[in-house]
């Protein structure tokens, strides 16, 4: 993946830059030794690595502001970083840039139960928000699989989803306000930090959520808390054919119930996770569906009965129903561990994140099956089926350059199909650097120009996380749409492992 050429003159100023940053953030808050920078070289997309000039770990908002101001005044680029779990390279450092890590902003500042919201700092992990409020019977609803590690700041940057966002919404639907700083270090507040629902004027809060760290650095997030449902129960349904499982998803979504979760794993994926977590999955199934209801006992009884009927009518060969909370969590344990389980089976995997209309799940599964033959690579399928968000995991060995080429070609074809179906190249993982090529497929030149224009309204000089999320128009022109065909990707400018 080709990033903008680094500015050698800036790199030559490293010592001076580090000294200046140390004056703002004293002590160990500035990391500059090459060995100490290694942990920051990449994020969850670990095939791409780059050492930054330095990493700054501010502890106060005043420091964040001052670091930004200094960098702006001195022409230094800034890459914001949360926990570094991005799967799209959103936090990949720049050789001529500084990483601003927000890991020290790790406190829940204020919980207002009566108003069902909490003010949290960006470095608080997704799961820690729930941890802070669960004793009072609340939780934070969006639950990306990486929730144990990923932070709310990163969730905001990516508009993270999760397995329960079908009913409870994405980050966008669960964040009411943001406080942060522009690239010039000026304070900005978006939405409402007091929990009011509507603010006059264009929805800048929505614009900032999912902006992949290109518009501002967030230092406080007002999250919506949800009362923990009295009860949750999960159905585990087996299908002898993936098309039937896909049809069952469509049938459920056509009905009057919104499941609390509706997830699909294909047979090979199920076998891999079963070997890892021993959840008791049906290993003979071509696909399994996890289908959850939550709410009052009466709601759960009524919804489970209705959903069971639909699943049966769609040809489920076996339906297990969780009998207690421990069993429900066991049903989910495999789904939540799909990625690590794949990591045990294959030295590397490429995780796709396409979104498609949910009625076309079966069609996409069949297409992926054919692509496996063509690219001679295996692919596990794990889908947020209720949302039409797919995570095909293409297994490959990065030690073999040809396998890298094939995996990328395979992935690109999935994305191209998703766009052709009216879908999106990314449902929740973000564009980062990974899907810049796909952006040229999904959007027109005028639309990409509009994105650049929006960026420039916040960051005229293009210093905040530049090179991510929106491709340079020149790149689209060079690659055309060919980037997705035949795996003829531009040669990567960055070393891979």
């Amino acid at each position: 993946m080709k990033m903008p050429a680094p500015d050698d003159a800036l790199i030559a100023r490293k010592a001076e830059i580090v000294r200046a940053l140390r004056r703002i953030v004293p002590g160990e808050g500035v990391v500059s030794e090459p060995a100490a920078l290694v942990p920051f070289e990449s994020d969850g997309l670990s095939a791409y690595r780059q050492q930054p000039l330095a990493v700054v770990l501010p502890e106060t908002t005043a420091q964040v502001s001052e670091v930004l101001r200094w960098c702006q005044a001195n022409g230094v680029k800034v890459v914001p970083r949360g926990a570094g779990t991005s799967l799209s390279g959103g936090a990949l450092p720049l050789a001529d840039g500084v990483v601003v890590g927000l890991s020290k902003f790790n406190r829940v500042l204020e919980v207002d139960y009566a108003n069902r919201c909490a003010v949290v700092q960006p470095g608080v992990t997704n799961l820690a928000i729930t941890g802070a409020v669960e004793a009072q019977g609340f939780y934070y609803a969006p639950d990306p699989s990486s929730q144990i590690a990923c932070t709310i700041g990163g969730n905001v940057a990516e508009n993270a989803g999760g397995v329960h966002c079908l009913k409870y919404g994405l980050t966008l639907h669960n964040v009411l306000g943001l406080r942060g700083y522009t690239v010039a270090g000026e304070p900005i507040e978006l939405g409402s930090m007091s929990g009011a629902l509507d603010c006059a004027g264009p929805d800048l809060l929505a614009l900032a959520i999912g902006s992949e760290g290109l518009l501002c650095i967030v230092t406080e997030v007002l999250v919506r808390l949800t009362p923990k449902p009295e009860l949750a129960r999960c159905l585990l349904a087996s299908f002898a054919d993936v098309a039937q499982a896909g049809a069952a998803v469509a049938a459920l979504m056509a009905g009057a119930i919104t499941p609390a979760g509706l997830e699909l794993m294909d047979g090979p994926m199920t076998i891999a996770v079963e070997d890892f977590v021993h959840a008791g999955y049906d290993l003979s199934a071509a696909a399994i569906l996890l289908c959850e209801a939550d709410g009052s006992p009466e709601t759960v009884d009524a919804e489970i009965a209705a959903m069971r009927q639909t699943l049966q009518a769609c040809g489920a060969t076996r339906i297990d129903e969780s009998r207690d909370e421990a069993e429900r969590l066991r049903f989910w344990s495999g789904r939540k561990n799909a990625f690590p389980a794949s990591g045990r089976v294959s030295p590397d995997y490429l995780c796709m994140d396409a979104s498609i209309p949910r009625a076309r799940l079966a069609e996409m599964l069949n297409a992926i099956s054919a692509l496996q033959q063509r690219w001679h690579l295996r692919c596990f399928n794990v889908f947020h089926a209720g949302d039409g968000n797919l995570h095909p995991l293409i297994l490959f060995d990065a030690k073999d350059p040809d396998q890298i080429r094939r995996a990328e070609g395979f992935g690109a074809e999935i994305l191209e199909r998703a766009v052709a179906m009216g879908g999106s190249i990314t449902g929740e993982h973000g564009v980062g650097i990974e899907k810049l090529g796909g952006m040229c497929v999904q959007f027109s030149r005028a639309e990409l120009e509009a994105f650049h224009a929006i960026k420039s309204c916040w960051d005229a000089e293009g210093r905040l996380n530049p090179g991510k999320a929106i491709p340079q128009l020149q790149r689209c022109a060079e690659g055309g749409q060919l980037w997705v065909r035949g795996g003829q990707l531009p040669h990567p400018g960055i070393e891979r492992f």
Binding site: A196, L197, S296, P357, R358
Partner: protein, 367 residues
């Protein structure tokens, strides 16, 4: 490849831009009273066939795509036939209103606090910007983080950033059943407290309102669940037809409270109608006049003789914003003005999306 029929409209926008000809974007004009006074030549979008009608609707997808000048009544009637709805319960004033107007104003109905607002249902849109470019933002799928969320940016922009040509929404199933409960609570504070408690306990609320000593809660879901909730919540169950009429009256603002407000306005009694968006837990507003509470406390309607500055101060102290919803003489900014960096960003966005300032000039903030 067939040409996009919208290109014809885009051409007209380009021509207007070339002449610097200001346009007032009008749908059914049902919300024309809302916002700053319209300027520019009215362009009645409902007369443009390219902007009307259904583009795609798969009930099993729970997604609909429509031309933005499609009447809401037409769209919602179609959705209801398939047991679906727009979760934000858009108000229809005088039975009218279009999809584009819904997005531009972001005005949602009684379900707002429980099922989300206009921005939460919107998935994507096609915009004709001030240079006559067709731009598609967002999409038709539930989850989509490719590119900035410029579709939702248009919610609340009052049509100042472009002409909304088409829009896609996610849909909700109509609830299996609803049940409305009524309580006599003469003190507003008690009404607010009861709304909050019901929300905290996770009851399947879908609307709430307090006015004139009475609290109403609407529950939606499986019939068994509603019966069980009603046993715990107490109150008097409203007869279904009465309940339906009440919530419709609140949604479309034909309720007694709004009728009274309009009458007082027209009588020239020196009052204004304000809509305050506050934290749900904000205490009762100490202000002369009538108050109606919705959205679990997050929306307060205030019909008052108070001066604008005093109302804005009340809202600010409570942690929210006040919008001058209706008045005979709008002698102050209708919307709480943006300040500082936020103001600059808004101005830059306007300059980028509509460089010749042709779309609804001055409709969001007086120049």
């Amino acid at each position: 490849m067939s040409l996009d029929p919208l290109l014809n409209l885009a051409e007209r926008v380009r021509a207007a831009a070339a002449e610097g000809h200001a346009l007032e974007l009008v749908g059914m004009a049902s919300k024309r009273f809302y916002g700053e006074t319209p300027r520019g030549t009215p362009w009645v979008l409902t007369r443009e066939p390219e902007l009307r009608g259904l583009r795609a609707y798969e009930p099993a997808e729970r997604v609909v795509t429509v031309g933005a000048a499609t009447p809401l009544a037409e769209l919602e009637a179609l959705l209801a036939q398939h047991g679906q709805q727009l979760a934000c319960e858009p108000p229809r004033f005088g039975g009218e209103g279009t999809v584009g107007g819904l997005i531009a104003t972001g005005l949602a109905g009684p379900a707002r606090a429980y099922a989300g607002g206009v921005r939460d249902s919107l998935l994507g849109l096609t915009l004709i910007d001030g240079q006559g470019q067709l731009l598609k933002f967002g999409g038709t799928v539930m989850k989509n983080v490719a590119g900035f969320d410029a579709a939702r940016l248009m919610v609340g922009a009052m049509g100042t950033l472009g002409l909304i040509a088409e829009a896609s929404f996610k849909l909700s199933p109509l609830p299996a059943a609803t049940l409305s409960l009524r309580y006599d609570l003469p003190q507003q504070e008690d009404g607010l407290y009861a709304m909050q408690q019901a929300a905290l306990q996770g009851f399947p609320l879908s609307a709430s309102a307090w006015w004139n000593g009475q609290l109403l809660l609407r529950l939606s879901g499986a019939p068994e669940a509603l019966q069980a909730a009603a046993r715990r919540l107490g109150g008097d169950a409203l007869p279904p037809e009465l309940a339906t009429a009440f919530w419709a009256g609140l949604r479309h603002q034909t309720d007694e409270f709004f009728v009274g407000a309009v009458r007082a306005l027209q009588a020239g009694s020196g009052i204004s109608v304000w809509r305050l968006s506050l934290p749900a837990t904000a205490p009762e507003l100490v202000a002369p006049g009538e108050q109606l509470v919705e959205w679990g406390g997050a929306q307060r309607w205030l019909v008052t003789p108070l001066k604008p500055a005093a109302v804005r101060e009340l809202a600010e102290r409570a942690g929210g914003q006040a919008t001058l919803y209706a008045a005979l003489d709008k002698n102050c900014p209708v919307f709480t003005p943006a300040e500082g960096v936020q103001r600059q960003i808004r101005q830059r966005l306007k300059a980028r999306f509509d460089p010749r300032n042709i779309f609804n000039p001055g409709r969001l903030s007086p120049d």
